[in-house]
Symmetry: C2
Subunit: 135 residues, 2 copies
């Protein structure tokens, strides 16, 4: 088995001007983000993801709204509800995951440890299971 | 005068599963983010910011909703409306800025080129003007 998913608690400053939630590389984030992406406007009932990564580490944050991330390491799927910026989900490599139950206002921010590389994606479930079971 | 603010257009992929907007260090972002923060829940009428940075570069993105960023280089203030993830505002150092007109659903994501350093903030307007006029 590879490393496991874990929830990170990010510092949050709230005052009369609103809220500010932050993550710093090396302090709260386990890597320096080389790529940041924003997913939104996901229609009701849509599931995204359905892949794993060979080498990429990711941190997922619900910057607005609510969504569910399900992580399956090849044995037991575990679901995480993300519904606030201060609760981030860290996914090391070799975890199969998908995102579902996006609320209409959901905004998912993902920080990734590398630039985009299509060869890093494992999109075949059987190949994934062979890889994790061989470890 | 220092460098100027500029709008960046980030790549956006839209399909039946929603939209994905991304920025990569070295390709779309002028630096590697060492700190990412999310500002939201800003009450109506509130203005945030009112400072400049000695060394920190920032990229600002409205991940949801709408807000206005006003940048003042010591001569002429310029206002930018951010209302979609694909339009990001790059702020090199030594630009005085403030954020206003947050819509109720606004989510501002900021990527910064360094970890937090309170000594990097210039919060005195007269000191700022002295610095930029001395350049």
């Amino acid at each position: 088995m590879g490393a496991r998913a874990s929830l990170l608690t990010l510092p949050r400053v709230a005052d009369h001007r609103g809220t500010l939630t932050f993550g710093e590389a090396g302090a709260h984030l386990p890597f320096v983000p080389q790529r940041v992406f924003v997913i939104r406007d996901v229609p009701p009932g849509v599931t995204r993801g359905g892949h794993a990564h060979h080498r990429v580490h990711e941190v997922l944050v619900a910057a607005a709204g609510r969504l569910t991330v399900t992580v399956d390491d090849g044995t037991t799927p575990v679901s995480y509800t993300l519904d606030r910026p201060a609760t981030a989900l860290y996914l090391p490599p070799l975890l199969w995951r998908w995102e579902s139950d996006f609320s209409a206002d959901a905004v998912l921010v993902v920080m990734a440890s590398t630039r985009f590389d299509p060869d890093d994606y494992i999109t075949d479930r059987d190949e994934y299971l062979r890889l994790v079971r061989a470890r």
